[in-house]
Every structure is written in C-alpha cells, then in structure tokens.
C-alpha cells in the first residue's frame, strides 16, 4: 500500500506545520499555484507506521550479511552517525563565516591530511559527492593538466575492459574518447595491448587496483612507466582501496590522481544508494588543478581555499563544499580505527575473501581466477552449472535471499560469464562466512535435487521475482490517484 493510499482529503498532521496560515501579500496572484500538489494527507502516525514497515522490507548491513562485490558493505558504526548529527553540526549554514566553524573545519583539515598520508598523494580535495563525481573531477584534472601545457592532442582515455562502467562513462562526459584494452587469462591488464594503445593521443589510463576481477594488477609498475613515458597520466579508481589500505599507496605505484570512496573504505552509510563521498587526491604536478574549496590552516586558524587563490583550479563541482555530513562520518570512523585499525582493514578484508574463496572452492564452486590470491573480493562463475542445468547466477542470487543472505554482485565484471562477485568485508566473522558457505552448499544440492526451488526463488521475500521487462515496457513511474 502506498502512502497516498493511506491518505484522505483534509487529513492533516497538526503538530508538524505552523498552527496558523499566514499572508502571502506581495506575491502576484498569477504566480500562485492553483491546485495543491499530490503530497499525502496523512497523520504523523500513518507516516511513522508506513515508513517503519517499509524499512522492514529491506535487507541491510544492520540485519544481513551483504557480500556485494565491489561495494564494500562493512559495518557502519552508530557513533559515526550520532556524532555527525550533533546539533551544532546539523545547524551550521554552508555560508556561515569560517570563524563560526573552526571545529568543523578542523575535522575536514585533519581528514585531508590523513587521506594524503594513506594514499601517498600531495593534495586532497573533499568536494566530490560520489565515486562517479570523483572520477569526473579526476579526469577533468588530467585534461586541465595537459591543456595547461598547451597539449590539446590528448583525446583518449584508456580503460581496461574489466573496469566499472563509470570509468568509460566518465571519460566520455569529460569529452574524451575511450580506448578499451583487454584482460589476460590471469586477470591482469594485457601489457602488450596497453603498449600498443598508448601514444601522443593518450591523456591517461584509468585503473582499478586491485581490479574488478578481485586481483592485484601485478604489472602496475610497468604500466605506470608505459603510460607516463607516453606522456599520459594515471588515474586510480579507489573503488577497491579497501583491499590494499596500508599495504601499498597509490602514490607509490605512480598514480597521479585518485578518488577514494568513503562510503566503501571508510564505512559511511550506503543509505539505499547514497549519499556517497569521494575525495580526490593528486600528485604534486596536479596540485594547481584541485577543485575548490578545500581547507588550509594558518597559525592554527582554518579557512577555505577558493578559486581566487587557485586560478588554475578546475573549479567547483557542488553548490557548497561537498557532502560535509558524510565526511564527518568518515573522519570519525578513521579516528576510531587509528593507525593500527587502518592497517587491519585490508588484512582482514583479504583474509575473509581468501577464506571464503577457499571454502567455496572446496564446496565445489568454480573460481574464475583460481591461481590468484583474492584481494578483498573474488569471482565465482556458474557457467558450467548453467550449461548443465540451466540454473543461472541470478537464480542462485535470488535463492540466497531466501536463506537470509544478500546476494553477491551478479553479471559483473561482464567478461566472466554467469559470475558472482563476492566481497565479504573485514567486519564479518568467520561464523557468518561459514554460515554463508553452508547456504551455498545447500543451494548446490538443491540445484541437483530441487532445481525448480532455485529457479523460482525467492520464496520467502515480501514478493516473488519481479518483472523487470514489464517495468521498462509499461513505464509506471508515478502513482496517479485515478489509475
């Protein structure tokens, strides 16, 4: 039942609006709305009850194991939320004077410094509001760099075929042509193909490392040399930073620019699809191009650096300073972890992934890159199962829901058929991983003994399998009262 269906004309929630009406004198009548908008006419209790019930229909980290590959679904500490939501933090206007926000700015400055240190970059700006915007900003800086040197010939961005879709999409949004290069059998980027692809037209290479295949790019030093020698820059997609944090720094691998998904590695909430936050870090030569504003400190006073001081900056990419509240949550998380905790993220994420990979292999599942170490994630392929039984990766994914586990990422990366990309994250216990393996084993048995049970899954969710095709063909995007 939709919230609108709980409504009745004239019903109101009296406590949540001013107790009186007020005059709108001065606004010409022809600019006034004639028909009231379709907002629900419900009571406060209707609203609370409706959305509380709706929430219960979601899987979430707070209720289920959520091994969604490439998404780093780790525990979101509750203190990060409550402290980011202290009244003073919530009440501060973005245009309030800097001297009324020194406490807040101190947090932002500290976070910038910590992110610089852990990535090995020379400068950081916190403004990007999501991973994809971090990418856009990163690639804009690459462009600005070449153009600042009078080099307008660099029109191509190289992207491995295994990359997230955001990489090529970003390059295009930024006006570049995308050159895809292949992956070799071991899951590394094909080095010869890369060598063949680079040239004076190369603006840069976008690389996720460990890659979306869940393996560390072993030739990264050589790749870096090849691209730099051709005059291109290296972009590090921080989607998988969780796997190597404290083990290797993107700056040390030769990357010139990086974005860091705080909603992954630094545990800010995914919130059903956002808000994210993805600070960018840059090597020294890209410093002039960093997006504004960012925080600087002088004599113990914090202030914003703006475009006046940074005339070469690519400019502003959000109305204010980015997702301050998300940044605060990440800052609190980082301080809770501390140095030692930070080192342990990658260690235990990797331990969990390799353990789960080993156990699933023992259980009879086919691993896509069996000779490689898993980074914080790895790939299971159901190609063989599908060929023999018709059961698909999606069938298995839906059946996992019945067993109280969120499904892994399915059908990504695209180059592995019938794949499940599995990322357990470091905050899950061995017991939970063992329970997941047990469920996967059960499904293997069901595939043999009760294939229809798997094909028709899910069975225990609020709804059975939903019809995506109908949704796209018979578009229904807004409720209509008379429909």
């Amino acid at each position: 039942m939709l919230i609108f269906e709980h409504a009745r004309p004239g019903r109101r929630n009296y406590s949540q609006a001013p107790t009186t009406t007020a005059s709108v004198d001065g606004i010409p009548d022809h600019l006034l709305r004639k028909k009231q908008p379709l907002l629900p006419e419900v009571s406060e209790m209707d609203t609370v009850r409706h959305y509380t019930r709706l929430s219960q229909k979601n899987f979430s980290i707070d209720t289920e194991f959520y091994p969604l590959g490439s998404c780093t679904m780790k525990y979101n500490p509750r203190a990060c939320n409550s402290l980011a939501m202290l009244p003073q933090n919530l009440a501060r206007h973005p245009l309030a004077p800097e001297d009324t926000g020194q406490g807040f700015l101190a947090c932002m400055y500290d976070l910038q410094e910590i992110l610089k240190n852990i990535t090995g970059m020379a400068g950081v700006s916190l403004t990007p509001m999501a991973g994809a915007q971090g990418e856009l900003i990163g690639v804009m800086m690459i462009r600005a760099y070449h153009e600042s040197r009078g080099d307008f010939a660099r029109t191509e961005i190289i992207v491995p075929d295994a990359a997230h879709g955001t990489n090529p999409a970003t390059a295009v949004m930024c006006g570049f042509k995308v050159v895809e290069i292949a992956t070799d059998k071991e899951g590394n980027v094909d080095l010869d193909a890369l060598k063949a692809a680079v040239g004076p037209q190369t603006a840069g290479l976008m690389l996720t490392n460990p890659s979306t295949l869940g393996v560390f790019e072993e030739n990264v030093t050589e790749m870096s040399r090849v691209v730099h020698q051709a005059g291109g820059l290296l972009y590090y997609d921080g989607a998988n930073l969780n796997a190597v944090l404290g083990k290797v720094k993107p700056g040390d691998m030769g990357f010139d620019v990086i974005h860091i998904n705080l909603h992954k590695t630094f545990s800010t909430p995914h919130g059903g699809g956002g808000p994210g936050s993805a600070p960018v870090g840059v090597a020294k030569r890209l410093l002039p191009f960093l997006p504004v504003p960012f925080v600087t400190q002088e004599d113990g006073k914090y202030r914003w650096v703006n475009e006046k001081e940074r005339p070469q900056s690519i400019g502003r990419l959000s109305a204010h300073m980015g997702n301050a509240g998300v940044l605060l949550r990440a800052y609190i998380y980082v301080r809770l972890l501390g140095k030692d905790g930070m080192h342990r993220i990658a260690e235990f994420a990797t331990l969990n992934a390799n353990y789960l990979m080993a156990e699933l292999k023992k259980a009879g599942f086919e691993i896509a890159y069996p000779t490689r170490r898993a980074s914080h994630e790895f790939i299971v392929t159901l190609k063989d199962i599908k060929d023999k039984t018709g059961i698909t990766a999606m069938n298995l994914a839906k059946r996992l829901l019945d067993k109280g586990f969120h499904a892994p990422t399915t059908y990504f990366p695209i180059l592995v058929p019938e794949c499940l990309l599995i990322e357990p994250a470091e905050t899950e216990s061995k017991q939970t991983l063992d329970a997941f393996v047990a469920a996967m084993k059960e499904i293997l048995t069901e595939i043999k003994e009760q294939p229809d049970m798997v094909k028709n899954a899910p069975h225990t969710m609020p709804l059975r399998k939903l019809d995506d095709v109908k949704a796209a063909r018979e578009l229904d995007l807004c409720w209509k009262p008379d429909a």
């Binding site: 919230i3 406590s15 949540q16 001013p18 009406t21 007020a22 005059s23 709108v24 022809h30 709305r33 908008p37 629900p40 209707d46 709706l54 229909k57 979601n58 979430s60 979101n76 203190a79 009244p87 009440a91 206007h93 001297d99 406490g103 509001m129 915007q133 804009m140 462009r143 879709g165 955001t166 930024c174 006006g175 995308v178 083990k247 290797v248 909430p269 995914h270 919130g271 956002g274 808000p275 400019g315 502003r316 204010h320 997702n323 301050a324 998300v326 809770l336 501390g338 140095k339 235990f348 390799n354 499904a407 061995k430 028709n456 019809d467 995506d468 949704a471 796209a472 578009l475 995007l477």
Partner: protein
C-alpha cells in the same frame, strides 16, 4: 582491532583453510618494492568515548547561531520523526536496491518520492534524485543539449545561484557546450523577457529560469518559458521546493510548461550541515524520459501478479551502457530522499504551504522592520519569496561581524558573488523564526548600524 571480530583461533583456522602461513602471505602478489610502511600520519585509535568527547568539544567550539542566511540553503523545522526513521538501520545501511525482492522498502519509498516530486513540480516524471541542486542543473543542461541535437548553447540568467552557474560551466564545458549568462534588470532584480532578443538570435538548446531567483525575486516565468519555446529551446526551471507549495509549478509555466524542473531538495527535511549531503531533484516531461540521468524506479508485478517496484530504464545507465550512458552517475542521494519523502508525508500539502507562507511572512516582517532604519532599503522592486536583498548605507562586513558577536548570522554579503552589488545584504527568515527573534534581529541590527 576495532570492528574486526576475528579471534586468534578464527585467524588460525582461516589461514589453515587457505593454506597460507600468515595474513601477510595473502599480499604476496604485491611487488615487494611497492609495499608501504606504517601510516605515520594517522593518529592512534580512539575509543568511542574519546571521539565523542573530541567531537562534542569541536561542536561546542562552533556553537549555535540564530541564522538569517538563506542563499540556496534554508533552515526549516525538521520533524523528529524524519531522521529517527531515516536512520533506521534498514534504510541507513542498505545498498542500492539491485536485488529488488530484498529492497522493496527503499524502492517503494523512491517511487513515492518520484510521485511527490513530479506533482510538486507539475511535471510528468521525476528521477530518484541527483547529487545536489547545482549538479542537477548541469545534468539538465546536458539533457537539453542531447535532446536539442543542433545547438550546444545554454542561456543562464545571472539571477541563478552564482555557484550553480560555476558548477554548470565546470561540468558542461567538458562537452564543448557554451554557457551564455543573461543580465538582469538592476531595478526589478529580474530577467526581463524584453531584453532577451539579442541572446535568442542564435540557436540555443535551453533557457534556465530560476523561481525564485538568487535574490529571492520572482521571475516572469510564463513569459520566459514561452519565449524559450518560441525559439525551439527547452525551458529549464530551477525551483525551491518549499516555494512550490505556494507558487505555480514549472509544469504550468507559460503555455506549455517548462520541460525540465530541477532544484535543491535540502529545504525538504535536510539539515543545513555545512552544505551537505543534500540532494538535487529533477523532473521532466514524458517526452524527455529517456534522456534523464540517474536512477528511476518503476512499478511492476511479481510472479504472482502482486505490485512491486524495481530499478528501471537501466539501459540508460553506465553499468549497462558504459561509454554510451546518459551520465556517469551511479548513485542517487538515497538517504536524503528517504528523509525528504518522510518530511513531505509529515507535512502534506497544507503543512508545506504553511511553511512557505510563514517563511515568506517572516521575511516580509523582517524586511519591513529593517527598512525603517534610515540607510536600509530594498534593492529590487520585483515581488519576492522568503528572501530579500537590502542595500545598506554602511559597510556590510562590519555589521555582519557585530551581529555575529551577538550570535546572529545576519545574512549574506551579496558582493561576494556580485561585485557590483556593494553593501548589499541578502536576508531570509524562515518559519523557524519567532516574532521575538525578528524583533531581536531588528534591534541588534539597528544598534550595529549606529
């Protein structure tokens, strides 16, 4: 080891299963020369008690002010229920609803949000939100160019939020799109339709129309919309959602209505929070639906014919279309939209209208009190909504500082964004301000002015 549940026994058993000697072994594919040492700049970990103390000290250092700044971010009362429900773990810690059957909570909520926003803006459809108002406008410009096909020019009045204009420029210029800024009438504070002809001589893809504009002034939206349409361009409304409870929605502007409506969703239950996270909204006519970026939720059925909700039109998106996607965006601002949807449900049409009315009436009352001070005058003659520019006969900065010392943030110095507008103050008093607050502001202002 905060947030890591492994016991020594767990670790030993897991390494044994893997066949690895130590955790460090698992990193043996990383070339040795790349291995980094200690993270020297990261301080030691704090307990929750310690970080709580630190964050409270910093928050108290910043303190709380009576805020009369608007300028695109507005302080409204947020019902307690909004964030108590929004931060329930099931909303807070869930991911993008890729597995629809296990995500009906988020999906249905987003469908409800789309319905509310489409109706509030008077448009046919809404997406599931964008990063913020500024980027929503940039995406609308890209959408207009994709839709128009021949022109890569976008007309944007200087009455549009100055930072929005910067953001649009930064984003769309990558795709060789020209941004033409339109002057405004310094008397009325509006874009005058009569003054536009010279800009319309060359083809353009869209005209952006703010309502109200950055000065709080109401534009002649009907004439502007019709003018854009007369030039075969799209009309893009940039609107304040609170104002829409009161004002004609973009979908009804002029003869045919605006084509795209975008704006900053923050006034709908999102705290000011130093500037984010907020969310942008975007709604459009049916004809543009396949050009819209971002997530969209559709209603469908399950195997038993029961109603349910899924992500739809994914063929536009980067994870399917890669370099041919309509945008690189791969998230919405899910949690913010959760809050906004609950906010709109709690307020309802009458509630939101009253918020708009009182915000407007309070600002009018404040302006009337301040105008009585000699040397304080309204700058613009155009009608306003809940925000006003005042010209002062004395330096704004000094007055702002004096009021700040009284814990009042008196408004925005407009000269920061408009060099020609010297000593001009932009003020806003929302429904959160009482008569006593407004009186106190006026008194302090008068004292500071002396």
């Amino acid at each position: 080891m905060p947030f890591i549940p492994h016991t020594k026994e767990d670790i030993a058993e897991m390494l044994d299963s893997i066949g690895a000697e130590s955790i460090e072994t698992l990193f043996d594919e990383i070339p040795t020369d790349l291995k980094s040492g200690q993270l020297t700049e990261v301080p030691p970990g704090l307990s929750e008690m310690e970080i709580t103390r630190l964050m409270m000290e910093r928050a108290n250092q910043d303190g709380l002010y009576q805020n009369f700044i608007g300028a695109g971010a507005y302080e409204h009362h947020i019902p307690a229920a909004v964030w108590q429900i929004t931060t329930r773990g099931e909303f807070y810690s869930s991911y993008t609803p890729y597995q629809a059957e296990a995500s009906q909570g988020t999906l249905q909520l987003l469908y409800e949000y789309q319905t509310m926003m489409a109706s509030l803006t008077g448009m046919d459809v809404s997406n599931a939100s964008m990063y913020d108002g500024a980027t929503a406008l940039a995406e609308a410009a890209l959408m207009a160019v994709r839709s128009h096909r021949t022109s890569r020019r976008i007309l944007i009045p200087q009455t549009v939020h100055p930072v929005y204009r910067k953001v649009v420029r930064a984003i769309v210029s990558n795709q060789k799109i020209d941004i033409i800024e339109l002057p405004f009438c310094t008397k009325s504070g509006q874009v005058l339709p009569d003054a536009l002809e010279e800009f319309g001589k060359e083809d353009f893809a869209a005209l952006v129309i703010p309502q109200p504009n950055f000065f709080g002034v109401l534009e002649q939206v009907d004439a502007l919309t019709d003018w854009a349409h007369s030039k075969n361009a799209l009309a893009i409304g940039v609107v304040n959602p609170t104002a829409l409870a009161l004002l004609t929605p973009p979908g009804e502007w002029g003869n045919k209505g605006a084509d795209i409506a975008v704006g900053e969703g923050q006034p709908l239950g999102i705290p000011l929070s130093s500037g984010g996270p907020y969310f942008g909204f975007m709604a459009c006519k049916n004809s543009l639906i396949r050009q819209i970026p971002g997530r969209i939720i559709g209603r469908t059925n399950d195997l038993d014919g029961k109603t349910g909700y899924v992500l739809t039109l994914q063929a536009r998106e980067q994870h399917i279309r890669r370099s041919k996607a309509t945008s690189n965006i791969c998230t919405n601002q899910g949690l913010m939209v959760t809050a906004a949807t609950i906010y709109m449900s709690l307020l309802g049409p009458e509630g939101l209208r009253r918020v708009a009315e009182h915000s407007h009436a309070n600002t009018m009352e404040l302006v009337q009190k301040l105008e009585k001070i000699s040397g304080v005058d309204r700058v613009f003659s155009g009608p306003i909504f809940h925000e006003a520019a005042l010209k002062l006969s004395k330096p704004v900065g000094a007055i702002l500082d004096k009021l700040k010392n009284k814990k009042i943030l008196a408004g925005l110095n407009l000269q920061e964004f408009y060099p020609d507008l010297e000593n001009t103050l932009l003020v806003c008093a929302t429904e959160t301000k009482t008569a006593a607050d407004i009186q106190a502001f006026a008194e302090q202002f008068e004292q500071a002015f002396d």
